[in-house]
Symmetry: C2
Subunit: 371 residues, 2 copies
């Protein structure tokens, strides 16, 4: 990355290049424990301010609750597409980032960058979609900001939505909770959003049109949490399922084994991917969550997903394998640490042909402005 | 506004046109009580979620604290300027939006839109400035997002910062708290930021160069709150002092009288405004706050400001006049309602020549991308 001295499109692709940029150029200088986690949302203990008017945080705080806080900017092109629009994405994506850390979404902010010349009718349509999606998720937009830039200085409309949520007592999710033997589930067919956007952009017409899966998943996720012992969740957006599984394996220092045949891919999506030369594992989703839970609860969590509108095609797609947790340098090996192996922190795909290959972290996705 | 069917630059200027766009096109469809206030930050009661996992909010909530939540997007051009850069603005502006509602800033989010081709050295410099300004304000960046768009689809770098803060018990600020007789203060010379940006943009060199006033004001504001009975605060950004005073007068339904001679304007800024044909009252600031407090506490609040780095040139600039609160339609007039007068909700400027004129709300500022 040091050889690159300018931003390139692949820096935004959700892969290795983006992760390195964020770690080295952005997170390192700002270093603090909350940011270093690079999670979907930061989780902050919040206490009433002390007499000096400064809120106490951290271990010494008289915690009165945990607040989840997240941000996402949406630059999707085109802004209207089959199955959604930039407004629906902006609400669903941020709600999902809150939900996957176990938070009940409380409120959203809305920051617009509008390009001179944007039809106000488009803005109205997008705001209506924001309202409808917020209603669907049961969350409110409580604050906002609007900036206008000259023609040519932006591209129609960009939207930032940040969100806050409340993490109930007792919720404890994270890559460190992932345990060998855990089951890995996904709530339905992958790659729909990326294929829908690309079809729209390229003017492709498939026999069975593919619609984006953009949807708020907080209802489905709450049902999963109630149904069993969930250890980790992450929504699969840029970089697709491959990026989430690799992040999970690397952050947890474990191996994740995925059964390719078990991964739901709608036939129309599979056909479109074949035609377009795309790997469904690296194509973006906007309504898919990977859930890791105790193996003994896999059936009940799966049933909870399938009972939900956004989880009809849910499936158990793999498991976390034992004994491959990376040895922490300098630390005392825990019971779960069986020493590093060449497979630690990797995703192994058991293919339809009975073989096995590594499912790589994407480098820099080929599809800019997918979300 | 109905005659305009496309976004124009003036929609972003902080004046009447922007206010109408936000009210009619954005806030109305999303209608809820928190958003309707159009305050600098939304203030939300936060309680632990009930057993269904949904946080209780509103009057029925078992409130465990009040969280302030705000968002701001920064599109300033050029990104580096005398006295600051887009990173300093992005931290200071959002910290100030939290501070003026009485919140102690707790955490910021950081959303980047990067244009393909942006030098990574520029990004590093901006991130360093974000870190330094966050340290100055005593706040942490805890979560972020990075998007990349193709060359020509943005303009270098846009930054959204959202922020959350904790509102201490007992704090109650707002336009409805403004009382006839209250004193109006500002913490120093106005119009510096706008003049600094315009000088940079136009390549103007003044004898005494003007630097932006961009600065986090949470320290100064906490000192004001401790020094006296503060009723209302707002930072004067786009639309300048004129916009804040008019918003305040309109939202409070009162008349605000300003003594033109008392308003601090640095001589270099006044000279530049003369030369450029700008009215300092409508030029943007990024480190100025208007504070309305009980008349009896004006001296102590002024002293608290002047004791602070960002308040050396603070001044009492006017007062709220009695008896001009607008009559609420259909409501029962309160004690403070003396019936509408032609001056209700207006800002009256007592000029240097001893006359009086209305200080109008700016329509749509002439300086796009000032912040």
């Amino acid at each position: 990355m040091d050889r690159l001295d300018r931003i390139i499109l692949a820096h935004g692709g959700g892969g290795v290049l983006m992760r390195d940029l964020i770690r080295d150029v952005i997170a390192a200088p700002l270093a603090n424990d909350a940011l270093a986690q690079l999670g979907d949302s930061a989780i902050l203990p919040v206490a009433q301010p002390n007499s000096a008017g400064r809120p106490a945080t951290g271990e010494g705080a008289r915690a009165t609750g945990r607040i989840a806080f997240t941000t996402d900017t949406y630059v999707v092109q085109p802004v209207f597409f089959r199955g959604g629009d930039i407004g629906r994405l902006a609400v669903a994506g941020t709600v999902n980032d809150l939900a996957v850390v176990g938070a009940a979404p409380l409120a959203l902010s809305l920051g617009f960058i509008l390009e001179e010349g944007l039809p106000i009718a488009d803005l109205r349509r997008i705001v209506a979609s924001i309202r409808d999606t917020a209603d669907e998720a049961g969350v409110r937009v409580v604050t906002g900001d609007t900036k206008v830039v000259g023609a040519g200085a932006a591209d129609g409309i960009f939207i930032n939505t940040s969100g806050i949520g409340v993490v109930p007592d007792g919720i404890d999710l994270g890559p460190s909770r992932i345990t060998p033997g855990d089951a890995v589930l996904v709530n339905g067919g992958i790659a729909q959003h990326g294929v829908a956007i690309l079809s729209e952009r390229e003017g492709l017409a498939f026999e069975t049109p593919v619609a984006s899966d953009a949807a708020p998943l907080n209802g489905l996720i709450a049902a999963c949490l109630a149904a069993g012992e969930v250890h980790f969740m992450r929504d699969a957006t840029r970089g697709g399922l491959a990026a989430v599984l690799n992040e999970m394996a690397q952050d947890g220092g474990l191996t994740v084994e995925i059964d390719e045949r078990a991964v739901p891919v709608d036939p129309a999506v599979a056909g479109a991917c074949d035609l377009l030369g795309l790997d469904p594992f690296t194509v973006a989703n906007e309504g898919k969550v990977v859930v890791v839970c105790a193996a003994s609860d896999a059936d009940s969590v799966l049933a909870a997903m399938r009972a939900h509108e956004q989880g009809r095609a849910a499936a158990v797609i793999g498991r976390v394998t034992e004994g491959h947790r990376l040895q922490t340098t300098g630390g005392t090996p825990t019971e779960r640490t069986a020493g590093g192996t060449p497979e630690s922190g990797r995703v192994v795909l058991r293919t339809v042909f009975g073989g096995a290959r590594t499912l790589e972290m994407p480098y820099g996705e080929d599809l800019p402005r997918i979300c």
